[in-house]
Amino acid sequence: AQSVTQLDSQVPVFEEAPVELRCNYSSSVSVYLFWYVQYPNQGLQLLLKYLSGSTLVKGINGFEDEFNKSQTSFHLRKPSVHISDTAEYFCAVSGTSGTYKYIFGTGTRLKVLA
């Protein structure tokens, strides 16, 4: 079984400041890790994914992540946020074999302040 925990339901941050959105997971099997973003009244868009290899993953819009297998964490970071980054961010895991189900975290609402 897998579970995903997003530690912050809301994160306010000023424009051009750095931000980190935290995600921990637990799984008895190997997993792929994903971050999705949901802008208001829209579907989900993939930000980045970790499948294998380097633990530092770079995604779109300047976001990056570092996979920490020992701590089972997959935190999303951006060095400098913009107003347009205001959105809901979801962390998700999926098993590397078997079914294709995604387990999503409860989401973190990032609000960038001017």
């Binding site: 579907g43 590397t96 999503f104």
Partner: protein
């Protein structure tokens, strides 16, 4: 990637009625899924839509309430039956190819309000 079109984008329905949501993909896909996102919550998988056979439902979801069709590799429908206000949610279609180094793609969702 894939272009996924969901219809309707939003609807307001009377309790006791049913609504059918359509999901159209611009290319053939292996896997199609339906998720529910209740207000202020995360996504929960309702079922996997199987082409040519009955959908596979997750715990807590049943075919009588959420009948699903998938007549071909590019199209699926989800019906929300005998609706109540508790069914007010965003319903999202998701697709994935069988190659496992890809990610799931999502439609823009259908925002359903039951009054």
């Amino acid at each position: 990637s894939a272009v996924i079109s969901q219809k309707p984008s939003r609807d307001i329905c009377q309790r006791g009625t049913s609504l059918t949501i359509q999901c159209q993909v611009d290319s053939q896909v292996t896997m199609m899924f339906w998720y529910r996102q209740q207000p202020g919550q995360s996504l929960t998988l309702i079922a996997t839509a199987n082409q040519g056979s009955e959908a596979t439902y997750e715990s807590g979801f049943v075919i009588d309430k959420f009948p699903i069709s998938r007549p071909n590799l590019t199209f699926s429908t989800l019906t929300v039956s005998n609706m109540s206000p508790e069914d007010s949610s965003i319903y999202l279609c998701s697709v994935e190819w069988v190659r496992r180094n890809t990610e799931a793609f999502f439609g823009q969702g259908t925002r359903l309000t039951v009054v």
